[in-house]
């Protein structure tokens, strides 16, 4: 049960922040905290991929955007003109449609957000799977470049396609209601509820990831990261594990995209930009590659500050600076610096004896 101690603290923290915010009449901070929560979800997936499976992804914003855009398109695309079609009637019979009024009083019929979300997640999983098979065979710079390339393609497609609203993105995405009025929505009256929705989701993902890492699978991931040859020699299908981790992290990013899109009521191409992907990597690096907790903390802090506008016009420069400083002085993340670790770093990690024969290469 010790491993859930952190989760308990997190839950207490979530509640405490809300209570303090409500009682000090500063409940509006929860808006940015909620948004930061969704970004944190995406970053946690990336932390799993980078820190534990050892694979860099410079295109993770692409998956966030795939999730967000799929759900935005499906929940704003007006199906009313097709109301005589068989497909429409089928959806209607299955109660998968949602009828609503837009800002100007026109009636729109679109897919229910649940359906949109399911489609978004399946789509991101499928794309991650198809892309992952060849991409994850690459290493080092080639892997970095391939994932970066994937991100750029998503960005270009979003920017160049009328369906995705080109440069304007998609607006007027309806709320994602679970029960009555309760649901993901940017409505200011539902702010506390939305804060909890976002952060309980983060919490659940933390629980799932902690369970995952504390298992046969998690051990295998660490093994692959530490010594790939040896893990193959004990029968671990390294390619399969990397691929599944890639898909898992893509789906989590897409889920975050779905959530934020409904919360914001829209999405724009900036969510798919390379700078966003770099930002995610910066946060994972700052949190300490293989530390879910560190990543969560850094993500919450940095995203919150950024969304509040505290960094002003130096937002990008700041993330660039973080990347460099962390990688130069604390490649294991700032929060991982403690005396024990610092002491360990003074004595560098061992490398095996290179003496001996080098046959067969």
């Amino acid at each position: 049960m010790r491993k859930y101690l952190g989760i308990a603290f997190l839950l207490m923290g979530i509640v405490a922040i809300q209570l303090v915010a409500s009682f000090t009449d500063s409940v509006y901070y929860l808006t940015q905290l909620t948004m930061a929560g969704y970004y944190t979800m995406a970053v946690l997936g990336l932390a799993l991929l980078m820190g534990y499976a050892g694979q860099i992804s410079l295109g993770h914003a692409g998956f966030f955007a795939i999730g967000g855009y799929s759900s935005a398109v499906l929940t704003t695309y007006n199906l009313l003109p097709y109301r005589d079609g068989l497909f429409y009637r089928l959806l209607e019979a299955l109660q998968l449609l949602q009828k609503r009024e837009d800002l100007y009083g026109d009636t729109i019929v679109n897919l229910h957000p649940v359906v949109a979300m399911v489609v978004a997640l399946l789509l991101s999983a499928l794309i991650a799977y198809v892309i992952g098979i060849p991409v994850l065979k690459l290493k080092g710079h080639y892997l970095a470049m391939a994932t970066l390339g994937f991100g750029i393609i998503v960005y270009r497609v979003v920017l160049g396609t009328a369906l995705f609203g080109e440069a304007d993105g998609i607006s007027d995405v309806p709320p994602f209601r679970f029960y009555g009025d309760l649901g993901i929505s940017g409505d200011m009256d539902l702010r506390v509820e939305n804060y909890y929705i976002a952060w309980i989701s983060v919490l659940l993902i933390m629980v799932l990831f902690i369970n995952l890492l504390d298992s046969r699978v998690g051990r295998a991931l660490r093994a692959i990261h530490g010594a790939e040859d040896a893990s193959r020699a004990v029968g671990i299908d390294t390619g399969d594990y990397k691929l599944k981790t890639f898909v898992l992290s893509a789906v989590v990013a897409a889920l975050a995209g779905v959530g934020l899109t409904h919360f914001n009521g829209g999405i724009g191409p900036s969510e798919a930009s390379v700078m966003k992907s770099v930002r995610y990597v910066a946060i994972v690096a700052a949190g300490g590659m293989a530390s879910l907790w560190g990543t969560m903390v850094m993500s919450t802090f940095l995203n919150f500050m950024s969304l509040r506008g505290y960094f002003g016009s130096y937002d990008d420069a700041l993330f660039g600076g973080i990347l460099i400083l962390i990688m130069l002085f604390a490649p294991e993340g700032i929060l991982s610096i403690s005396f024990r670790r610092a002491w360990k770093r003074l004595i560098p990690r061992t490398e095996r004896v290179r003496d001996g024969d080098t046959e067969g290469r």
Partner: protein, 244 residues
Amino acid sequence: MLRIINLESGYGSLRVIRGVSLHVNPGEIVTIIGANGAGKTTLLNTISGLIRATSGRIIFDSRDVTGLAAEKVVSLGCVLVPEGRQVFSTMTVKENLLLGACPRGKRAAGRADKDIERVYNIFPRLRERHNQLAGTLSGGEQQMLAIARALMSDPRLIMMDEPSMGLAPVIVREIFGIISRLRREGKTLLLVEQNARMALGISDRGYVLETGRIVLQGPSEDLLQNRDVQRAYLGRDLDAEIRL
């Protein structure tokens, strides 16, 4: 010429060389033999400056070279022919040799052609391969090129790490012939070999290295006769003595 006192070295926290002391006199061939993993390569790498010693001293030509960078050590006249035919495979034979003359600085530039000629006389096969890319040479030729390149710096001490590794017997014989010739020309050599019989055969003295320590030393003939050496490295007199 070379004196090593209580040398300790290794990779990270792993100590591979544990308190080794040895010396090489001018004009000698000295052989170090030992099993895989005994630390022979680490020892040579430490002397040549590729690895930093954690303690102990290395004195070359009455000058303390401990902790000196590899490129400095070479320019003092102590050159290593590394294990495994480390040539510049994407460059021609001639370019490899020219680079070998680098440690001598600008002075050598004008004499480079003459030096190359001198080296070609020792390795006539290389002259034929003059403009060929080093990576396309045969294993033996690459080993010769590595030695030739080392000679270009006009060293006083040449250290060789397993020059016979992976080579056909006839080539090995040729290389050992060249080693003998170098000694006749006044070079001092420190040799690390697995082919113990052959190495001890041409050397004056030998050391036996085991798990990072010198366990045995003496004139080569004595070592060749030593029962422990025979058992462990020459594959003779087996079962009887093994105490399990």
